[in-house]
Symmetry: C2
Subunit: 394 residues, 2 copies
C-alpha cells in the first residue's frame, strides 16, 4: 500500500482495530478494557467494521473529499475484514483487496485438516526425508520424555533455558516454529513474526537433510527450529515460559472465544504433526474458564456468509480481489477461484501469507511482481469505473 | 404474500420485529423491555436484521430445507428492512421486495418538504378548491382559537368530546387525518389504519367541494376528517386525549429517537399545511426528555448507505424490487428509477402506501394487477436463476 498509494495520488490511512495497538477503549486503559466479558463485548468484527465506516465517512467529510473513492486493503484477519467491509459497506468503499483472508475457515466449510495438511505439503515438497524426520520426531520426544532424565536431555538438545522444560511446552514451541515458518515462507529475507532467511522452509529442510547433522533427530530438529527462533544468532537459550505478547494477540484470544471459531487443529494420519481431531468442546471449556463465555461457532457464517459463496456472490457484489499463496496454511480456507468478473481470485503457487502486501524488493521473483502488477491493474480499473460513474448523470 | 406463496409452493414466514407485537424481550415483559435506554438498546434495525438472519438459517436447518431459496418482503419500515436485508445478508435471501420503503429519507438525501409536498399534490390533484379550503383552514382555526369561546366553538364544530380541546391537539388530529388518508389512498375500500372507502382523498375533497356543505370551512373540514375517523359512522364524539396505541407505535418513538431520524416535517409556502421547517433540535430535545438519549441522525446512512445510491449499487448487489406508489407521501424518499438490471423500481402513478402488498380484489384497477404480475414474474426469474446456479458445478 505504501508503495502504490503515491501512484494513485492517494491518502493512505491505517485504521487500527479497536482493542489492538494504541486503540484501547475505556480511555486507553487496557486493564479495564480487557477486564471482563462486558468490557470486552465491544471487541468484535462487526464493531470494527462499523468503526471503519464511521471513521472513513468522517474523514472524507473533514477533508472535503466526499467524492474520493476509497479502496480497502487487509491481510489475514485484516483481509477478512476488507472483504466483509466491501460486502457490508459498499457505499463506503469501492473495492477491497483481501489478502490471505481465510473467510471460509468457519463452520464446516473447510476441512479442519486443511491447515496442517498444507504445512505438511510445504515440508514434504522440500524433501521426503525432511517430512519424515519431523513427522517421526514427536514420538521420539514423547518416548524420551518418559525415560528417567529424558526431559533434561530434551532440554539440553533444544537449548531450552534451565528449569523451563515440559513435554507439552516443548512440543508447542516446535509446532509454532513449523507453522509460522510455513506461513511466512517468503522468497526474500523477512521479519514479519521473527527474522527469517529467504525460503525458510527450504532452509529448515536443508538443516534436517544435512548429512553433517548426523543421525540425531533432536539435533536435526533443533537446527530447524533454530532458523525460526534464532536466525540472528543472538539467543543463548530459549525460554518456553515467555508469556510476553510480542505480536499483541491478547485480543485475539477473546475473539477466538466469541466469534472467530476457526477449526484448524485437525491432523490426519499423513500430517507432519501427531494425529488429532479438532475439538470444539476443548475450545468451549477453555473460553468458559478464562472469560466465562461460550463461543458462537455459527455466528460468522450467519453474519458474513461463507457457505456456497460462489453461488451467493456470483450475481451479488463486486470489486473484491482475493489473493492467496498456496504455501500459506490459511490458503485452504481462502477463495481460490474467480466468483464473477469483478470478484476475482489471484492464486500464487509459490506464495506465503499475504506476501503481496509486503514491501517489494529487487530480489522478488517474477511471479510476485506479476501478482502485484495485476492487483494494481484491477484497482486502476475500479477507479476508472468509479470516475466514469461519477460523471454520468442520472 | 399470502396469495402468491402457494403459487411458489412456498412456506410463508412472518417474522415479527423484536419489541413489537408479541416479540417482547426480557421474558415478554413490556414494562421492563421499555423501561429505559439500556433495556431499549436492543431495539434497532441492525439487531432486527441479525434476528432475521439467525431465525431463517435456523428454520432452514430445522426444516431440512437448507437449499430452499428465501425471498423477503416488507412494506414501509418493513420494506426498508427487506432491502437492507438483501444488501447485508445476500447469503440468507436471494431477493427482496421492498414496498414503499423510504430508504432515502435520511440525512439530507431527500428534501424535508417532500413528504408534505406529495400530500399537497394528492389533494390539489383532486380539486384546487379542496386544496385551498384545507390550506386556508389552519389560519381560521388559529384565529378562532384566539377569540373568546373560540375553542368551545371549534370543539363543537369538530365534534370533539367534552373538555378535551386545545388548538394544538385539534391541529394534530386534523393533520393525522390528511396524512394517513393520503398514505392509504387505496383504489378499493380498506382497513389499514382506519376503515376507509375507496379513493378516500377523492372522498374527502368531495365532502369539501360539496356545495350543500355551505361556506362554513370548519363544517367542510369536519366532514373530510369524519371520513378518516368515522367511516363506520359509530363515533359520537372524538377523543383528542386518547393515548392508547392502536397501531403499536411505542417502539417507533424509541427508534425515531435513535437511528430512524427521517426529516419529513417541512412545509414550504405551497404546502397544504402551515409553513414550517424540519427542526432536528426539537427532536433531540424531545428524545433527551423522554429517553435521555440524543438521536444519531447520520447512523442509517453510515450503516446502510443512501447517498448516491444509483452509483453505489449500479455494479453492486442484485435482486431487489423497489415498489412505490406516487400518491404515497413516503414515495418521495423511495427508489424510483431502475438502478441495474436486477435492482429495479416499479412506480405506480396512482398507487398509495405498499398497495401492492394488500389482498387482491376483483375491483383492483388494471395497473395494480399489472404491478403484482410484474413482481411475481421478477421473483420467478430470481428463482429460476437460483435453481440454475444450484445445478451448476463449480
Amino acid at each position: 500500500m505504501f508503495e502504490i498509494a503515491p501512484h494513485f495520488n492517494a491518502l493512505l490511512v491505517f485504521i487500527e482495530h479497536r482493542y489492538y495497538g494504541k486503540s484501547i477503549p475505556y480511555g486507553g486503559d487496557k486493564t479495564i478494557a480487557y477486564s471482563n466479558k462486558t468490557t470486552l463485548g465491544y471487541l468484535s468484527s462487526t464493531q470494527a467494521l462499523a468503526d471503519y465506516a464511521t471513521l472513513i465517512i468522517d474523514l472524507k467529510n473533514n477533508l472535503t473529499a466526499i467524492d474520493s473513492p476509497v479502496v480497502v486493503f487487509g491481510g489475514s484477519y485484516g483481509g477478512m475484514l476488507a472483504a466483509w467491509f466491501r460486502l457490508k459497506y459498499p457505499h463506503v468503499t469501492i473495492g477491497a483487496l483481501a489478502s490471505s483472508a481465510p473467510i471460509l475457515n468457519f463452520g464446516n466449510i473447510t476441512s479442519p485438516y486443511s491447515f496442517n495438511n498444507i504445512i505438511t505439503q510445504d515440508f514434504k515438497g522440500e524433501s521426503d526425508n525432511c517430512y519424515k524426520v519431523i513427522k517421526g520426531s514427536w514420538k521420539q520426544i514423547e518416548d524420551m520424555a518418559k525415560t528417567k532424565g529424558g526431559l533434561e536431555k530434551l532440554r539440553k538438545s533444544f537449548r531450552i533455558c534451565k528449569n523451563y522444560i515440559s513435554q507439552g511446552a516443548l512440543e508447542n514451541w516446535l509446532y509454532t516454529a513449523f507453522v509460522y515458518t510455513a506461513m511466512t515462507d517468503y522468497p526474500t529475507p523477512s521479519n514479519f513474526l521473527n527474522p527469517l532467511p529467504a525460503y525458510p522452509v527450504k532452509q529448515m529442510c536443508k538443516a534436517i537433510d544435512d548429512p553433517k547433522g548426523g543421525k540425531d533427530t533432536f539435533e536435526k530438529i533443533y537446527e530447524a527450529a533454530n532458523i525460526y527462533y534464532n536466525y540472528t544468532g543472538n539467543a543463548t537459550c530459549f525460554d518456553l515460559n515467555d508469556h510476553s505478547d510480542p505480536h499483541g494477540l491478547a485480543g485475539w484470544t477473546w475473539q477466538s472465544c466469541t466469534e472467530m471459531v476457526m477449526p484448524t487443529d485437525g491432523n490426519n494420519k499423513e500430517s507432519i504433526f501427531p494425529p488429532s481431531k479438532w475439538d470444539y468442546n476443548e475450545r468451549a471449556q477453555f473460553c468458559k474458564s478464562i472469560f466465562g463465555v461460550e463461543p458462537r461457532p455459527n455466528w460468522v457464517t450467519t453474519e458474513f456468509g461463507g457457505y456456497n459463496i460462489e453461488r451467493v456472490l456470483k450475481r451479488f457484489g463486486s470489486n473484491i480481489i482475493f489473493f492467496n499463496g498456496l504455501r500459506d496454511p490459511w490458503s485452504g480456507a481462502g477463495v481460490l477461484k474467480d466468483i464473477s468478473k469483478s470478484i476475482v481470485a489471484i492464486v500464487a503457487k509459490e506464495g506465503a501469507h499475504h506476501v503481496d502486501l509486503r514491501w517489494s524488493s529487487k530480489e522478488d521473483p517474477k511471479w510476485l511482481q506479476q501478482v502485484r502488477e495485476r492487483e494494481v491493474n484491477i484497482i486502476s480499473n475500479w477507479l476508472s469505473q468509479y470516475y466514469q460513474s461519477l460523471n454520468e448523470i442520472y
